[in-house]
């Protein structure tokens, strides 16, 4: 339940090493522009990872989160076509996200189904609905606000030119702090841990486990909606295959961040460090023109090594 443990320290050290290595090997990597721009690549994924971290700590998982994102983006498109203003478009996304998350939540809590199976099903269902609705078209022409939200820097908006931090990244940080405070400092956060660590004992202690599970699924839908608003704004178009496969990226971030897949352990600090680590790592490799697929191979290996290494060291320690 602690936010700052050994694993977080390891991640921070790795982050420093990464910055030094890329800073030396990739000219231009350590420039403010580059670092700021690199955050575009992972801000939305980071937002998904925050919701995923809460769910995994609570012993659940949501594989449909990226499909919900697609559905929310679709809702934005329809709202725009129906003549809604920016607020209406945003509200449509949020509403869709919450409903889609609630469907997951109901299936998991009401029908007592394992969340991995439920969300494999809703993954196909949501993605499929987006396909049905959109077919061979794409929607574009969103109001300027969204493009600003997705592409602009905070400095441009508040009139401080030198402050080149993307709005997306600022939002990610705000959410990270909020989710971190929630999980590590509040009563409800402690209960989330308890449910993940031992759902039966948690219920016996008077914790309404199912209500928390349900709300966390809705929250995942909400975060998917936020990510949808940002992503749709950033790329200015909605297609049914938007954010395809991002659920696995989010899960990878969470696990690398030290959250145990079986629930009850992990921290938001770790998750955010992993988001930064993976984001900057892929960006740096991208600058070296390493192809995406090789990057994901390296990340896959990294994921396994990060799990194996602590155990190997522990074993060594036990022998010594």
């Amino acid at each position: 339940m602690k936010a700052w443990n050994t694993w977080e320290r390891v991640l921070l050290a790795l982050l420093v090493v990464l910055l030094v290595v890329f800073g030396i090997s990739q000219p231009g990597f350590m420039s403010a522009d580059t670092l700021a721009d690199s955050t575009f690549n992972f801000s939305e994924k980071g937002i998904l990872a925050l919701a995923m971290a809460l769910l995994i700590v609570c012993g659940e998982i949501d594989l449909s989160i990226a499909a919900i994102l697609a559905l929310c983006s679709l809702a934005m498109g329809y709202a725009m076509r129906a003549g809604a203003g920016p607020v209406g478009i945003g509200a449509a996304a949020v509403l869709t996200g919450c409903v889609a998350g609630a469907v997951n939540g109901v299936l998991v809590t009401r029908y007592k189904l394992p969340s991995i199976v439920v969300t494999i099903g809703t993954l196909s269902l949501y993605r499929g609905l987006a396909l049905v609705a959109l077919g061979d078209q794409s929607i574009s022409g969103y109001p300027e606000v969204f493009s600003t939200l997705g592409n602009a820097y905070i400095g441009e908006v508040i009139g401080v030119r030198w402050l080149i931090i993307p709005i997306e990244f600022v939002l990610l940080m705000v959410f990270a702090v909020a989710v971190g405070l929630f999980l590590h400092r509040t009563v409800m956060g402690r209960r989330v841990y308890a449910i993940g660590a031992n759902p039966v004992a948690a219920r016996f202690s008077g914790i309404e486990a199912d209500r928390y599970r349900f709300l966390l699924f809705v929250f995942a839908g909400l975060m998917a909606a936020v990510a949808a608003i940002l992503l749709t704004g950033r790329i200015g178009s909605t297609r049914p295959n938007i954010a395809m496969g991002w659920e696995l990226d989010a899960i990878t971030m969470v696990i690398l961040g030290g959250v145990a897949i079986e629930g009850g352990r992990g921290s938001i600090v770790g998750t955010m460090l992993a988001v930064l680590l993976l984001g900057l790592f892929t960006f740096g490799m991208g600058m070296a023109n390493v192809t995406g697929i090789v990057m994901s191979m390296v990340i896959g290996i990294l994921l396994i090594v990060s799990m194996v290494l602590p155990r190997l060291l522990k074993r060594k320690g036990a022998h010594a």
Binding site: V132, I251, V294, I304, R311
Partner: protein, 331 residues
């Protein structure tokens, strides 16, 4: 009589699935008679064959409470390896290629098994990692190039088009794998132990089951079957490339779930899983025939998964232990 009731329950579930499949087939056939032809049946069988092979591997893993998310990546990597070997050595025999596919697949699978048992890691995380790692390895091995029709070894291409005793070779492969799986799970000691350790992993060590060895076996078998499927896939579509069958692992898991294999381990039968495959095959085959927009395919398969797990969960829910004497059940 307790057992009778029990068996009746599970058997009924499988009959129900079969019934649904038949009803769908007839309904589609009523609208498009071509659907009920022998040819179409063979097409569906052909399309389902590779899925069936993968599902048998995945089912073994699910029975032990694991999951093998790397199956599709393994398939693609093995397929690419076979295609490359076939390209480099045009003289190589198909038997050698099959053996090679099984061996490479098994090797990749055993890496999963080794990581899971050797370091006591959760299967979902390990196979999530190898999912990316194997996929990337294809790119590295092929330097990103596609191996297309003209470079695929003739024997690999020819194999899926072979017809033996009136049935396509792919179907034979699937039937043999199904039969071997059924024998393995029902009549071999190791198969029974897989059910046992999936049902209660902790207790398994107490009765002398070598759990790590069994887990390694299961992941290796799953890998070997994925490898075989890779060779067949490359042959059937005459192509090998990095993104081959990407995302197919979820279809495989879905087929298992529809077929009544429990994610929680220890529950599932070869017959059920095979029917799950057939179900997906029939639905996918039916959609284009009744001219449902192809865009509906994915949404429908999602809905089917949800409905079938909900039905499964209801039928498997403990019938409730009865302490009170039932009314009128006086001795």
């Amino acid at each position: 009589m307790n057992t009778l009731k029990k068996n009746a329950r599970t058997v009924r579930r499988e009959w129900l699935l079969l019934l649904i499949i038949v009803v769908i087939a007839l309904a589609v056939g009523a609208r498009a008679p071509v659907f009920l032809t022998w040819r179409n049946g063979l097409d569906i069988a052909n399309d389902s064959a590779i899925l069936a092979i993968l599902v048998m591997g995945q089912m073994l893993v699910l029975l032990t409470r694991g999951i093998d998310l790397s199956a599709a990546s393994n398939l693609a990597l093995t397929g690419m390896a076979c295609a490359l070997v076939g390209k480099a050595f045009p003289g190589v025999d198909i038997v050698v290629l099959i053996a090679l596919a099984l061996a490479i697949g098994a090797l990749l699978g055993s890496i999963n098994g080794w990581l899971i048992t050797g370091f006591n890691l959760p299967p979902i995380v390990v196979t999530l990692g190898t999912l990316s790692a194997y996929r990337g390895a294809i790119f590295v091995a092929s330097k990103g190039a596609w191996i297309s029709d003209q470079d695929i070894h003739v024997a690999i291409k020819g194999l899926p088009r072979e017809v033996w005793l009136g049935l396509p070779a792919l179907v034979w492969f699937a039937l043999v794998v199904l039969a071997l799986s059924a024998v393995f799970l029902n009549l071999r000691c190791a198969g029974r132990e897989i059910y046992a350790l999936g049902g209660n992993p902790h207790a398994a060590t107490y009765v002398g089951i070598n759990v790590p060895a069994r887990l390694r076996l299961v992941y290796t078998l799953s890998g070997a079957l994925a490898g075989l499927a890779g060779l067949l896939w490359v042959g059937r579509y005459s192509i090998a490339y990095t993104e081959l069958a990407a995302g197919y692992e979820l279809t495989v898991v879905a087929a298992c779930v529809i077929g009544g294999v429990s994610i929680g381990g220890g529950v599932g039968s070869v017959l059920g899983a095979a029917l799950g495959v057939l179900f997906i095959g029939v639905v996918n085959g039916a959609l284009p025939v009744i001219q449902v927009s192809p865009f509906w395919q994915q949404a429908i398969s999602g809905a089917v998964i949800l409905i079938s797990v909900a039905v499964n969960a209801r039928s498997q829910r403990r019938a409730g232990r009865q302490i009170l004497e039932r009314q009128g059940a006086a001795a």
